[in-house]
Amino acid sequence: MLLKTNGQKLLGLIIVFLLLVLLMCASIVYGYTQTSWKMVLDAFQNNNGSNEHIVIATVRLPRALIAVAVGSSLAISGVLMQTLTKNPLASPGIFGVNAGAGFAVVIAVTLFSVSNLQAFAWISFLGAAVAAIAVYIIGSAGRDGLTPMKLTLAGAAMSAMFASFTQGFLVINEAAFEQVLFWLAGSVEGRKMEILINVLPYLLLGWIGSVFIASKMNVLSMGEDVAKGLGVNTGFLKIIVAIIVILLAGGSVAIAGPIGFIGIVIPHLTRFIVGIDHRWLIPFSGALGGVLLLVADILARYIIMPQEIPVGVMTAIIGTPFFIYIARKGFNAR
């Protein structure tokens, strides 16, 4: 634990938020179209309709806001998933949200010829929710209810199934493949502000809910029996957690497509900084998740300029070494 007292943690949280704001500005300023900090100010104060100003107001700003919203939602749902499944490498993807959303979008494109990103958002939200609910039901079938192991297995199986059906549909329909390929990689590019505004209420609900259940999550992390002994209704709590994860992860997929690794990496990083108290863990993770996705997104613009790498690929490239580090470290002790 890096920060020990509450004062330090509060200061740390403020610093992270400042960093987040700074990176948002950087995300607005830097990119293929040359802009300067001054131009950004101008764009908001007196937009003269020049090319740069339009780019800033309609492309860069939504993109930065979306990166923050998606990054923090994924990170928070990662924290919740890791506590719920007692698995240090769990991520929102385990609920099958990414695969479910991908499948729904591909079905919509191939069978109903839907083609705009706006529609993709709702369809993928629906797909994510259906997959997550199915995983939850399969995972909690049987006498002892939802166990971490069953949940993980059910999620892996459902994801694999949806993924291969998606693949099958794409093989048959090449035109659709072209359309959804970029979406399937996960990207915050080219999303309009309306998509964010449409999904924002669900994300907000998830953020607020996760802060409210933080203290209960602390109890749950001590183990099911202890939590029950201390008077927590664990069955009810698990359902609430599942709903919040679906709202957050489903909403993120709806906006940006499947983006991996943030939900795994950030909770660990945050635990290293503030320890295991969820009341600090959740807000910190949220802020750091936004920071990571912004950084990944800015880097993605520069690596193979003028083309862009989908940010989902970027997070995988940044996240994998970290993942391997955790896997090696975490299982040596036992």
């Binding site: 493949f177 390929l181 994998t320």
Partner: protein
């Protein structure tokens, strides 16, 4: 009647115990494999009765029948059979070695490595007119190299005073995710025509197999499957856990390395010619375990046959049911595999 029959030869140097029930099941599956093989050779655009097929196989039949069976169907079906066997045996080995029913070649990133190699091959060796600058014949080699390199990488990364099963799985999952991201990246950057070609490969199909493929794949698979059968007793011991395995005198690190090597070789060969046919490695050993129990001496052969049957059937359905459209076999193995897997989960819900 005793359930087991023991064999001792050369003053006990060669000895094994035969499970009569397992032998019976093994023989039945051999028969089923033969039947599926022959029926599937007969079905397609031109339908032949099983008897005609047998006749053609032994040199009879009209010239047309000879052509269809020998040039088009046989190589493809033999490749399907071999791929199924290889994947099933590799899956069985990995499940025993890692002691996790979820283990499969896909999870360890072996298939993912092959995918990246194939996509890179297709995009790096394309010129401006979208035609390949090197012969497509090298594609299997690229896939194999990709699979082997990633398997080695996972092994090295998981090494820390020896390799523990759980670390291998975790690192494999991480590396596969990275491979998936790289595959997507390559597809997006390359021309779209190549991307859809690569996508078909990733889904897994035995379309377009030739006798050349058969000539490489059959000896490769047979040799490594034979080695796997010989090592079956070591897997039995590894499955008891590291402590017990060490206690009874197993050299676990060395055995683990060899087993991983064998399964990589098997998966590499299968993936090279048929792409990422999923779920066979996961499903076949589970089915076999139901039938003959979990002793690997019987489990591996039976799951090999089940794997062969599954891929042959998947290919048969893929090329006949939606004709003239060809659906890759991988779609069907996943279509059967995933629900079966969920059924397994549901069945063991109280375990």
């Amino acid at each position: 009647m005793n359930q087991y029959k023991s064999f001792r030869k050369l003053e006990g140097k060669v000895s094994f115990l035969l499970d009569k029930k397992a032998i019976f099941i093994l023989i039945s599956f051999l028969v089923v494999t033969g039947v599926v093989f022959i029926v599937s050779t007969g079905l397609g655009d031109m339908k032949l009765s099983p008897l005609t097929v047998l006749n053609v196989l032994f040199g009879g039949g009209s010239e047309m029948e000879q052509l269809v069976v020998q040039s088009f169907r046989l190589p493809r079906i033999i490749v399907a059979l071999m791929v199924g066997i290889a994947l099933a045996v590799a899956g069985g080995i990995l499940q025993g070695m890692i002691r996790n029913p979820l283990a499969s070649p896909d999870i360890l990133g072996i298939t993912g490595g092959a995918s990246v190699a194939v996509v890179s091959f297709l995009s790096f060796f394309s010129d401006a007119n979208n035609s390949l600058t090197v012969s497509i014949k090298w594609l299997p080699l690229a896939a194999f190299v990709g699979a082997a390199v990633i398997a080695l990488l996972v092994y090295i990364l998981a090494w820390k005073n020896g390799v523990s099963p759980i670390r291998i799985v975790l690192i494999g999952i991480g590396v596969s995710a990275l491979m998936q991201a790289l595959t997507t990246l390559m597809m997006i950057m390359g021309p779209i025509y190549r991307a859809s070609q690569a996508n078909i490969w990733i889904t897994g199909t035995v379309y377009g197999s030739s006798w050349n493929n058969v000539a490489i794949l059959v000896p490769w698979t047979v040799v490594f499957v034979a080695i796997a059968f010989l090592m079956a007793k070591n897997i039995n011991i590894l499955e008891l856990g590291d402590d017990i395995a060490t206690g009874v005198g197993g050299r676990i690190q060395r055995q683990r390395f060899f087993l991983l090597l064998i399964s990589t070789a098997l998966v590499g060969g299968a993936v090279a010619f048929a792409g990422g046919i999923g779920f066979v490695g996961l499903m076949a050993p589970h089915m076999a375990r139901r039938l003959v129990g979990s002793s690997f001496g019987a489990l591996l052969p039976v799951s090999a046959l089940i794997g062969g049957i599954l891929v042959m059937l998947a290919d048969l359905i893929g090329r006949t049911m939606f004709s003239p459209l060809e659906i890759p076999a991988g779609v069907f193995t996943a279509g059967i595999g995933a629900p079966y897997f969920i059924y397994l989960l549901f069945k063991n819900r109280n375990a």
